[in-house]
Symmetry: D2
Subunit: 361 residues, 4 copies
C-alpha cells in the first residue's frame, strides 16, 4: 500500500482470478470519463502490434465501489480486471526452473515457496494495469487544475529520440505523443526503433530503453523537504514498476559534469511569475516544485522473458539446468511501460498536491 492523502492498495496475480486496486482519498464529485480511462488502459494493453506480446486482454476495469451515478463518491474506489487469456500450462515448468532476470527465485525466497509462480504471479507486469487505471483517474483530477502529463520514448537500445525542450512543452505535444504507438519527438527515429525491437524479437531476445516524462502546470511550493520530496515520491513509485532500474530528474547524472555556475539556473521575473532561465534541476529544488516543468527519465531494462535458451537452476532437482521459456513475450516493454510511468507521475503528484496548497508569495 502506498500514499498519504491518496492511498493505493494493489492486488492480484497474473494467472489468478483478477488484478485490481483500491484507491482511497479521492475527492468526491469527480465525473469520470470512462472512455478516457479505457483509452489509457489500451495504451498499456498487450496484443496490439508485433512489438509486444500476443496475449490479448481486454483489460476492461470493473469498478466495484466508490462510483455512483457517474461521479466519484469520495469513498474507496476499487476496480478489478479479470484475467482471461491465461495459458497457465505454459508456466508449469517454471515452478522449479527459475527464469533469469525475473523475480522467480526472489519470489520463492520471499514467500518460502508458496507464491503463485504462474506467469510471474504477483510480480507480473500485469499488475501495472490497475496502476494505469488509477493514473487515469488522477490525470482527470489534475486536468481540472490544468496539470498535464506527457512522455516519450527517449531511447530504445542505442536508438535515441530527441530530448524534451522544457521551455516548449504543451498539452498539444502530449496529446500527439499519447496517440502514437511509439511516442517520439523526432518521428524520423521510429523506423530505426521499430527495427531494433524486431531484430531482437527475431533472435528470441529483447531490448530496453529510457522513458522521459514531463509534468506541466504544477505551481511552485508543492512537496516537502527530505522524506516527502517530489523526487522521493516519484522515485518511490517509479521503482514500484517492474523493470525500472534507474531514475533521474532534470539533467540527472549529466548534471554531475557541469560546474555549479552552469547548473544552477538564474531566476527572473516573467510578469509576476518567477522562473528559471534553465531547468536543469527538472522543476524541483529542495524537494519542492519551482513552477517549471517537472522532468524525469526512467531506465527500463530489456524484458527478462526471452525465447533464447538460458542457464539457470532447477530448485526441485537442486542442480543447474537450461531453460527455453515458452509462452508469449514482449520483445520490448518500453512502449507499454510508458503509460505506466505517466500513471505513477499522476498518482504521486496528486498525493502531494492534496497535502500542500499553492501559495502566493
Amino acid at each position: 500500500m502506498w500514499g498519504k492523502s491518496i492511498t493505493i492498495s494493489l492486488f492480484g496475480e497474473s494467472h489468478g482470478e483478477a488484478v485490481g486496486i483500491n484507491i482511497t482519498g479521492l475527492p468526491s464529485g469527480i465525473k469520470l470519463d470512462l472512455d478516457f480511462i479505457n483509452e489509457e488502459m489500451k495504451r498499456r494493453a498487450p496484443g496490439k502490434s508485433n512489438l509486444s506480446t500476443s496475449r490479448k486482454e481486454m483489460d476492461t476495469p470493473e469498478i466495484l465501489s466508490g462510483y455512483f451515478e457517474g461521479y466519484t463518491t469520495g469513498t474507496p474506489l476499487c476496480a478489478i480486471i479479470r484475467n482471461r487469456d491465461t495459458h497457465s500450462k505454459d508456466y508449469d515448468d517454471l515452478k522449479n526452473l527459475m527464469r533469469p532476470g525475473h523475480a522467480d527465485y526472489t519470489g520463492v525466497m520471499r514467500y518460502n515457496g508458496f507464491n503463485d509462480y504462474r506467469g510471474g504471479g504477483h510480480f507480473s507486469g500485469r499488475l501495472t494495469a490497475p496502476l494505469v487505471f488509477a493514473g487515469a483517474i488522477c490525470k482527470q483530477i489534475l486536468a481540472e487544475s490544468d496539470i498535464v502529463i506527457g512522455a516519450h520514448i527517449k531511447s530504445i537500445k542505442d536508438v535515441e529520440d530527441a530530448t524534451f525542450d522544457d521551455m516548449n512543452l504543451s498539452s498539444d505535444l502530449f496529446e500527439n505523443l499519447r496517440t502514437s504507438q511509439l511516442p517520439l519527438i523526432d518521428k524520423s527515429k521510429e523506423t530505426l526503433m521499430r527495427q531494433a525491437i524486431l531484430d531482437a524479437k527475431l533472435e528470441g531476445d529483447s531490448v530496453g530503453g529510457v522513458i522521459e516524462c514531463a509534468i506541466l502546470g504544477i505551481c511552485a511550493g508543492i512537496g516537502e523537504p527530505f522524506f516527502d520530496s517530489v523526487e522521493s515520491t516519484l522515485a518511490h513509485l517509479a521503482f514500484s514498476v517492474p523493470a525500472v532500474k534507474g531514475i533521474e530528474f532534470g539533467l540527472g547524472f549529466n548534471m554531475t559534469k557541469l560546474y555549479g555556475s552552469e547548473a544552477n539556473g538564474a531566476l527572473y521575473y516573467e510578469g509576476d511569475m518567477i522562473k528559471t532561465k534553465t531547468n536543469y534541476n527538472g522543476g524541483i529544488l529542495g524537494g519542492i516544485t519551482t513552477g517549471m516543468p517537472i522532468i524525469f527519465r526512467c531506465a527500463i531494462k530489456p524484458t527478462a522473458s526471452i525465447l533464447k535458451e538460458q542457464e539457470t537452476v532447477n530448485l526441485s532437482e537442486k542442480k543447474e539446468a537450461t531453460l527455453r521459456i515458452k509462452g508469449r513475450h514482449d520483445p520490448c516493454i518500453v512502449q507499454r511501460a510508458l503509460p505506466v510511468i505517466e500513471a505513477i507521475a499522476a498518482i504521486g503528484m496528486l498525493d502531494l498536491i492534496k497535502r500542500t496548497q499553492c501559495q502566493s508569495v
Copy 2:
C-alpha cells in the same frame, strides 16, 4: 517522518538551536560504539580540508533518550547536535535574494515566507548530520548479521574512478575506503579529482559527481514487490538527501543498451547457495534481494552555493538582481555526501530486514 519498522523523524535548521533525529523501532540491548558513531560523524563533518567549507562543527551528537547504561533501550532514541559556528549575518541579504539552485525560492513558496532562511534553514545539508548518526547505529545493528556497507566516489565532474567489481567486494575494501578523504578504488585518480575540485574553488565555482554504494551480506528474499521494493525504499531515502538528482541500481541506465540475454544473469549453484553469474540487476529482482551484492549509484549535483556572481530575483523589490553569496562554501560536497548515502542505505535496509525474515528454500 520515514519508515515502517524503523522510523526516523528529522528536525532542525542550519542556524537554529540544533538539528536532530528521533529514531523509533530500534531493537533493545544494542551496545552502541560511540567511537564508531563519532568517526562516522567526522566523515561528514565540515572543516576537515581545503576541499570543503571552513565552517567548523564538532557535530557531536547528544543522545537524549533511548540509551541507558551503554545499550539501546528499544524506546525512541533521540539525539541532537547543537549548532555552534554559525555566522548568521552572512545570510542577512538572503532573506530576499534567492540563491539560484537552492531551495530559497521553493522554501518561500512552500512556507509562505515564514521559513528560516539563514543558511538554507531546514533545507540545509546540515540536516544530513543526524542521518549519519542514525546510519551509524543501523550499521552497528546490521554488522551483527555480517551486513556491511561501503561506498566510493565513482566520479567528480569528468574524472572517473573504477567501478565496483561486485564479485570481489569485501569489508576490507570498505574499511580502506572508509578512512580515505577521497574514497577511490583507483587511487591514481586522486590527484586529478582533487585538482578538479580546487580548480572550481579557485573560480568561485563548484563541481558534482557520482557516488557508488554497495551492500554486502544481505540474504535473498528481503523486500516487497511494488511499493516497498528495495529500490523504492533506497531511492526514497536517497532523494531525501539534498543535491541527489539521480539513482540507478546495478547497471542502471546502461542496462538499457543490452539485450535481455546479456542483461538477465544466469543462475547457478555455489554449494547450496544460488547465485547469478552477473549482477547487472544490482542484487535485486522484482524488488527483492537476490543475495548478491546490492549496488547503486547516486548523482550529486554541483554545490549550489558558489562565490561567482549570479543572476536572480529580489523578492522584496520584486525585480531582478545580481548576487554574490558570502559565507563559507563547499566547492564539492560529493565526499561529504558519501557517508550520508551509506547511512541511508543502512537505515533503509534495516527497515526492510526487520519486516522480512530470511528464509531458506
Copy 3:
C-alpha cells in the same frame, strides 16, 4: 486503510457491486480453512432469525488474489462479497430525508452530496462482512500460536449476562459461545434478552447492548508504549465498527471507583511464569501485554434504523419532515456485531504480534 505489519483496505457500498477487503502482510503458507471462514461469515450474516433483518445475503467471499493451491501466498489477499438481495428502491426517499442516528447527514456533508445513499452506502454495517473475513484468517494464524478469542453478550438493554471470570477462561467456553445464537455465559438470561429484542421489534424500535471480548494465549511483552499501545490499537479498530460508542479494558470505568491498592493486582510466580492475582487492568499495563487474558467491552448503540416515525429534515426542500424508514431492519445488531468485535481483536493483535516477538526475561 489500517495497519502497520498487517494492513487492511476496505471498500464497497451496501447497494453497489460488491464490498471487499485487501489484506497485505499476511504470512505465506497458511492453509486456509474455508469452512471456518464461511462459518464466521454466517455468524454475522443477516436473515438467520427473527432477531435480525430479513435481508438474506449468502455473504460468500470470493478470493481474488493472494491464495494459491490452498495456501496464502504472502502477497495481498483480496476478497469481495457481491451484493445480491438489494432492494434499492426502498431507499429512494432517503436521498433527501436524513435518517436520525445514521450517517446520512454526515455523509452528505463529508462527500458534498456525492455519496451513494442507498442503504447507508459505504457507511453500512455491511462493510463489516469483509472485516469478519479478514478476522477469520487472522484467527487461524493466531490459533497456530494457541491464541484464541471469544466473546459474549454482556448486556442487551437492561438485561445483563454474567462477566467473564478471567481466571477461568478456556477455548472450550469460547467454542460454546461461538455456536450460540445469543452467546451468553448465563444461559438463563437468554429468554429475557430475546424478549427485550422482540418487544422493541414489535414497537418498530430497536435496542443496543454491550459485548465483552477476551483474548487468551498472548505472551507478555506485546505492544508499544504510547501510540501503538494494545489499547490504542484495539480501540482504533473497535471504533471503526459502526454503532460502537464506548470501549473499556479490564474493569474500565469501574476501575475509577477503586483505590490504587485494590486496583493494582499483586504479582506472583506460577512456576516460572509471572502472573497477577487480579486482572483488573485487562491484561495490559503501559500499553503492553502482561500475559494475562486481555479483556475489553464495547458499547453498541441501539440500531439507528427503526420503523417508528421520526422527525428529521428534507435536504432538497430545506425544511423539516417526518420519516418512516421502509426496508428491512435489525431490531438489535449486538449479536451480529459480536463476531465483528472478535474479528477486529484478531486483526489488531496479529498486527502487534508480527511487530514484537515474545521475549523471555
Copy 4:
C-alpha cells in the same frame, strides 16, 4: 509516532536527559503565544498542591526547531523539556522489584530487560508533558477557526460532578474550568473531591476518576468512515495516555440502555444550519462530525504508585517479595491528566481537520 497530516513523535525517559516531541505538518506562520503554552504546561506540572506529587519540575519547553522570529516555520517543530529534579536513587530497588499496576514488568518483557527502569522510564506519565506542549500549539491553531476545547472532572472515586449540558457549552465555561485546580461544573463538589483524594493520600493510597471533554466549533463533515473515524482517532490518542482504561462518546455505555427511538436524535433546521435535538451520539455519526459538540469521557485508573506495602516479585531473586515504593507520588492524577486529554483532543482534531475541508450542502 502518530498522525497523518500532523505527525508527532515522542521521546524521553523520566530520569534521562530530557523528554520531548517532534511535530511535523504544522502550518507555517502561526504566531505562538508562549505564555499560553507555559500556562498549559503548568496545568499538568507536578508540585503545585498537596493533591499531587511534590516533585518540582519547571517543565519549560525548549523549542529547538521549526520556530523563527515568533512564528512557526512549517518545518518540523521539536521541543525538549530537561529533567531536573530527579531522585534516581529512589528507584534503585525497582530494577528488580516490579511495581504492581505499573509497566515495570511489561517493560522488562517488551525490551528484554534493557529498558530504563528509573521512575518508569519511557512509560512515565512525564512523557505527557510534551503532549501538552503539542496540544497547546494545536489549540492555538484551532482557535483561529473558533474551535475550543474544555474539560472537567466528571468524578473522583465516588464523588460525581454534573455532566456537560451540551446545548449550553461556551468558551467562557471552558476558561473558567481551565483556571481551576479541580475543574468542576458543580463547584459544591470540590470539598468532597478534595477530601477523597486527601483521605487516600493519608492511607498511602490513591484514587482515580473520569474526565469529560468537549470540543466546540467543529463543522459537520470532518472525519472518515471506518479507520479514521473521529472516535478511532481520539480513542487511539486517549489510550496513548498512561492510566486511561476506557473511553466513551456521547452517552457511551449508557446509550445501550435506550431504545433507538430515544437515542437517535431528531434533526431540525436552526436557520440554515442542521442540528440534532439531542446529542447522545456526542457530535459524531458514522465516524464523522455532525456539527454538534463532540463529547467524550475517559476513565483514569487510580495512580499505580502508592506508599502502601504491596506484594510483587523480585526478578533477580526469582521469588515473591513485598514492596514499599519510596519516592514522591500523586495520590490522584486525574486533575493532572485533564490537560493531557484536552491536548490529545486538540492534536487529533487538527489532524482530521487538515485532511478534510468543511463543506456546505
